[in-house]
């Protein structure tokens, strides 16, 4: 049985780029159960030696692949592909097919953030983060 105590989470990370691979490696190194999905086999090279979880080579926009990852049991799903539209489809499949409670998606296009939030997907936008951070340097009314 999978241990579901709060300090031992089951994480599914979709997209094994620099962000995905680093989060996966770090989470794995502190004892969480991690599954990483990517449709490019080479992407798994981004994982560090600390990673002891599982990798699934497949397209997460396909229901079967999400099922293989036992995504319905995930405490958190991080949807981190480089394409907003892909991330939206995967997030919706997680929510509506597998009833995942916590879906966190990367959204590049600020225009898309509202839509993700409408469907109760938590959003991390590198674009907005950069804009906010840089705006801190700018004195005045830029927001």
């Amino acid at each position: 049985m999978r241990n579901k105590s709060k300090d031992n989470l089951y994480l599914v990370i979709i997209g094994c780029g620099k962000v995905g691979a680093n989060v996966a490696s770090r989470a794995s190194s502190i004892g969480h159960n991690v599954v990483v999905i990517d449709k490019d086999e080479k992407a798994f090279e981004n994982l560090t030696v600390e990673f002891t979880g599982f990798t699934i080579f497949g397209d997460a926009t396909e229901k079967d692949v999400l099922m293989e990852a036992k995504i319905d049991r995930a405490d958190y799903v991080f949807v981190l592909t480089e394409d907003d539209n892909t991330n939206f489809l995967i997030s919706m499949a997680c929510k509506y097919y597998f009833a995942v409670k916590k879906v966190i998606a990367r959204v590049y296009e600020p225009d898309n953030i509202q839509l993700f939030r409408e469907y109760d997907v938590e959003v991390i936008s590198p674009t907005v983060l950069a804009i906010d951070k840089l705006s801190d340097f700018v004195v005045g009314d830029y927001k």
């Binding site: 539209n85 489809l89 919706m92 225009d111 898309n112 839509l115």
Partner: protein, 225 residues
């Protein structure tokens, strides 16, 4: 009220052509610049070159709630985000979309897009009907194909003729709900004996469809497939 056709090549063209000939206002949106030029030359429609999965592009279309939106790209992820932007941000009620992966039909339905057309599913039905031959016909499928209603006729040389229903070894995941024999309806039980030309109405899960077909239409001496 206007009809907005997003994505697609030939389908978009012929759809736009037939709808505009009935006097409706048409907008066609496509990512492909060359295609847009062709459309602009050949269609009576407003042509917009751009990626409709971007909110800024949709904003240029002056979309109103009463408009009809038809989404035809060959990528479900684009169709999904376009339909949801149209629905949630622009409040469009009438949206029709193409679906490429049949697994996604249910997802679109759950997200409020009931007019989701899957050409894959249609082709699949057509091919399956050919595969199973004329004897088997799926005449209804429920819950996105999780339950199938089959109609199957017992051919002349079937090995189940003159056998009791309970003895022919039908799979567990099916029920014979009725038999049509020479125009008479029989509600069968285990002791009902099958005859040539009986038309069986069977409720089954789709995975046993082939097994049922092979069992009922298999010839007397044919080896098990």
């Amino acid at each position: 009220m206007k009809v907005v056709i997003i994505g697609g090549e030939r389908i978009a063209y012929f759809l736009a052509k037939s709808i505009s000939s009935k006097g409706y206002r048409i907008y066609v949106v496509n990512k492909d610049a060359q295609l847009c030029e062709d459309f602009a030359r050949d269609l009576k429609a407003v042509i917009v070159h751009g990626d409709a999965s971007k909110r800024s592009v949709l904003e240029q279309l002056d979309i109103e709630e009463e408009d009809i939106i038809v989404v035809l790209t060959n990528k479900d992820k684009e169709n999904l985000i376009i339909t949801q932007l149209a629905k949630k941000i622009f409040g469009v009620k009438n949206i029709v979309t193409l679906i490429n992966n049949p697994d996604n039909i249910e997802l679109f339905n759950k997200l409020g897009i009931s007019a989701a057309v899957s050409t894959t599913t249609m082709m699949q039905r057509a091919v399956e009907n050919l595969l199973f031959g004329k004897e088997l016909e799926e005449f209804l499928s429920l819950e996105e194909g999780k339950l199938a209603f089959l109609k199957i006729e017992i051919p002349e040389n079937s090995k189940v003729i003159a056998k009791k229903l309970k003895d022919i070894g039908l799979p567990h995941d099916c029920v014979v709900g009725g038999i049509l024999r020479k125009g008479e309806v029989i509600i069968p039980h285990g002791d009902t004996i099958l005859d040539i030309g009986d038309i069986l109405f069977i409720i089954a899960v789709p995975t046993v469809q082939t097994e049922i077909a092979n069992l009922l239409t298999g010839e007397k001496d044919a080896k098990k497939i």
